[in-house]
């Protein structure tokens, strides 16, 4: 008990006297301060009314550092999402328009919310890709289950799934409308407007192919 070490009786109050602030007639009557406040209010009123009426209001994405009305009038006006925004998924295309996906199930395995369902299919007999890779017969993402963590994109070994569409899922009115099938996912372009990616893909038979194929295993 630290209190027992203190002497009994009223303690000496240690404090610094703070003088009352000087209140001149300007403060006492309150009128000059009212005038100042009104001036600020009116400045905002006139400037914003003028800019709204003459169509000069700030662009909320470009001129947001300026004073004035910076509100985004959503949904009439939409700020673009930032570059790293993880939006709706897309399945990237190969040069021939087929999906890059080889149905390896890495993404559905990595998915923490288990919202990806892949049904793998074999290429037909005689197809040069047969035996090396498969293709997704069905590729389904439940966008309502998805937590937009981006693990599927990280897990993908062939850059086949991306979240760079810059879109958010549209607000539908029933749950089954959020089930995105393969063709829909392949129908979204990336932000640059293309369906492919910049990463090269070397098909068996291409001159750039590293050379390991069924006839030359080593």
């Amino acid at each position: 008990m630290s209190d027992s070490t203190l002497p009994l009786g009223p303690r000496k109050i240690v404090g610094k006297p703070v003088p009352r602030p000087k209140r001149g007639p300007g403060v006492q009557t309150y009128l000059p301060e009212i005038a100042k406040g009104l001036a600020i209010t009116m400045r905002h009123f006139f400037r914003n009314t003028k800019e709204m009426a003459l169509g000069q209001r700030n662009d909320p994405s470009l001129e947001a550092i300026e004073d004035g009305v910076n509100t985004v009038s959503y949904p009439e006006q939409r700020r673009p999402y930032p570059y790293r925004f993880r939006g709706v998924h897309r399945l990237t295309h190969r040069e021939d328009g087929s999906p890059r996906c080889v149905a390896c199930l890495c993404c559905s395995t990595a998915c923490p919310s288990q919202c990806i369902y892949i049904e793998a299919g074999e290429y037909p007999e005689g197809d040069p890709r047969r035996g090396y890779e498969r293709f997704p017969k069905r590729f389904v993402i439940d966008e309502l289950r998805c937590v937009f963590c981006g693990f599927c994109v990280e897990a993908c070994p062939c850059d086949a799934i991306r979240m760079d569409t810059g879109m958010h899922a549209a607000p539908y009115d029933s749950r089954d409308q959020f089930i995105y099938e393969r063709d829909l996912l392949m129908g979204f372009p990336g932000r640059d407007g293309t369906y492919t990616t910049q990463n090269p893909r070397h098909e068996p038979g291409d001159p750039t192919h590293p050379g390991i194929d069924r006839d030359h295993p080593h």
Partner: protein, 597 residues
């Protein structure tokens, strides 16, 4: 009192006009309050609703009135121009030529503004854009006004002057007609390729929707409340707020001719009336009531509003309501005292209680704000407190007592309390405008026309038609009232709420003694002036004219400043630090699309 049917009809029409004025301005104030709040807080505000007009209809709306106006003025000048002689002709030429000049530069400015925003599309656009800064058009217009006025004044009375008068009258009418038609035609032409024209209602539908909503909402009365008093209270609060404007005239007295029996002939409006005095026969004052107790009627009825608030608090069976009612009653009683006492100084100077005569005194001498400046400030503060609005909204302080005396009200009864507050803003603004800002009087405009004179020196004098003078006065009164309403709204958006003891201290220990001192000082001054040399009185008259000049110059300056402010080009700094901004810049700005639904 024998009142014939004409007078009865006129009184009914005036009463209707005053009530409609108060209610409509109050509705507009509820809108302006929201709109202004948004603008002050840098928000967009209610801006969604758009009325879509088919392009053809929009074009017709632009062109048809323009055709009407463009046809009417030249036709009037052509028909009546020959009848006008002497001073009346000069006056008409002055009005028409200034109107024409104004319309030309205004049209050019509006089109130049459009061009600056949407780019050059045709050769006329290119011509306007070639003029450079749109402010040059404004300077040119101001210059044209000044030059035409100077020329008219210089050549007045000479043969050149007569020629200039004809040029001003006929040429002005032609130029005006052309400018109106050109502006409307240009607008119609430039929208020809639009599929439809959207008219932003900027939240104007909101008050209408609110009115409808309150009509259909449940009318709740607490089970243990006093049903009769609970229903009566909103009426008692609403009714006085509406009828107090009866004693405030909204325009100068109109003079009509009379027939043999002495009854008014409404078709025989006097063309021109003398500068001083009011016609004894055939006078139609533009106020509902011409009571000799004047302002006392205003205070008596405004005081009745207290009963409404107190009753509402008492009858609601709710402790918050009761507290609110108590606060409202004591606050309104306190400030009623100050309101009355601050005006006594004004009564002593004007020597009358009738608002009409007060305005006449101000027209002849100086506006009340110059003879009673302290009374103006105190009366304004007391009037804001009387309407129970921020910063004096203790009776409904939502952080302390829910909603005060109207906690237990819903639907239209709540709306009546809400609405009576806004009507109180309008009526108090109208009274302040009448008692301190000269009511319907405009500087240098008397009953005969315009006369710019300081002391004995007359700089400019021009007769104007009686109807035009009265109409100018009505517009001036409405303008002053709306300006004061706007000032009250601005105060509401600026000041924080007082504490209740501060409110009472301000009322009883500051405003009340100050108003008593004001009475004493005014009395001494009035005595001094009455016993002073005639030269002092003359000097005071000149000083009064100088205040008029001050008001006129301030008004002109404010107008010029406003136009220049609107024309000021805006430069905005862009910041492309984020990828969002870079994407937006690549798209040419944040993408905006019209609402689909």
């Amino acid at each position: 009192m024998n009142m014939d049917w004409v007078e009865f009809g006129l009184s009914a029409a005036k009463a209707f006009a005053v009530v409609m004025f108060a209610m409509n301005v109050a509705v507009l104030l509820t809108w302006a309050d929201r709109r202004q709040g948004a603008m002050i807080q840098d928000r967009v505000g209610p801006n969604r609703a758009v009325a879509w007009i088919p392009t053809k209809v929009a074009q017709a709306l632009a062109v048809l009135p323009a055709l009407g106006v463009a046809a009417a003025l030249p036709a009037y000048v052509k028909l009546r121009g020959a009848e006008l002689t002497g001073s009346a002709e000069v006056g008409a030429a002055l009005a028409v030529s200034q109107l024409a000049i104004f319309w030309v530069w205004m049209t050019a400015l509006v089109i130049a503004g459009r061009v600056a925003r949407r780019g050059v599309r045709n050769s006329f656009d290119a011509f306007l854009a070639g003029l450079g800064d749109p402010r040059r058009i404004f300077y040119f217009g101001i210059g044209a006004h000044a030059v035409s006025l100077a020329l008219g004044a210089y050549y007045r009375g000479t043969e050149t002057g007569d020629a200039l008068t004809s040029v001003g009258l006929y040429g002005g009418a032609a130029v005006f007609a052309f400018a109106v038609l050109f502006g409307a035609g240009y607008a119609a032409y430039s929208i020809r390729n639009e599929p439809r024209i959207g008219l932003r209602l900027v939240g104007l539908l909101h008050p209408a929707a609110d009115g409808l909503k309150t009509l259909f909402k449940e009318d709740f009365i607490p089970p243990r409340a006093d049903r009769l008093l609970h229903s009566l209270a909103p009426l008692i609060a609403f009714f006085p707020a509406l009828v107090v404007l009866a004693v405030v005239p909204f325009g100068d007295t109109l003079c009509f001719g009379v027939d043999e029996s002495g009854s008014i002939q409404l078709t025989e409006l006097m063309p021109v009336v003398p500068a001083t005095g009011v016609c004894t026969e055939g006078a139609v004052p533009l106020g509902v009531l011409d009571l000799n107790v004047g302002v006392l009627y205003f205070f008596a009825l405004a005081g009745t509003g207290i009963v409404g608030a107190a009753l509402a608090g008492w009858a609601s069976d709710n402790k918050f309501s009761l507290l609110g009612g108590l606060r409202a009653a004591s606050q309104m009683v306190s400030y009623e005292v100050t309101m009355g006492l601050t005006l006594i100084g004004a009564f002593m100077i004007y020597g009358t209680l009738q608002v009409d005569d007060m305005i006449r005194w101000q027209a002849e001498n100086a506006w009340g704000i110059f003879v009673q400046p302290f009374a103006f400030v105190m009366f304004f503060a007391a009037a804001v407190a009387e309407s129970k609005r921020i910063p004096f909204d203790l009776p409904e302080g939502e952080s302390e007592i829910v909603a005060g005396y109207f906690t237990e009200y819903s639907g239209m009864k709540f709306a009546m309390f809400f609405f009576s507050e806004y009507i109180a803003v309008v009526t108090s603004s109208a009274l302040i405008a009448a008692v301190f800002l000269g009511g319907w009087h405009l500087p240098f405009v008397n009953r005969a026309g315009i006369e710019i004179a300081i002391g004995e020196t007359v700089f400019f004098s021009q007769q104007l038609p009686h109807l035009l003078v009265v109409l100018l006065g009505v517009v001036g009164f409405v303008g002053k009232t709306i300006l004061l309403c706007w000032l009250q709204l601005t105060i509401r958006w600026t000041l924080p709420r007082f504490r209740y003891d501060q409110l009472m201290k301000l009322g009883w220990r500051k405003l009340l003694p100050a108003s008593l001192v004001n009475i004493l000082a005014t009395g001494l001054l009035v005595l001094l002036v009455q016993n002073a040399d005639p030269r002092v009185e003359k000097a005071l008259g000149t000083a009064g004219d100088l205040t008029m000049a001050l008001v006129a110059i301030a008004g002109l300056f404010a107008f010029v400043r406003l136009v220049l402010f609107l024309l000021e080009p805006t430069t905005k700094r862009r910041l492309l630090a984020t990828s969002t901004a870079q994407f937006a810049a690549a798209m040419g700005g944040t993408p905006t699309s019209r609402m689909q639904a």
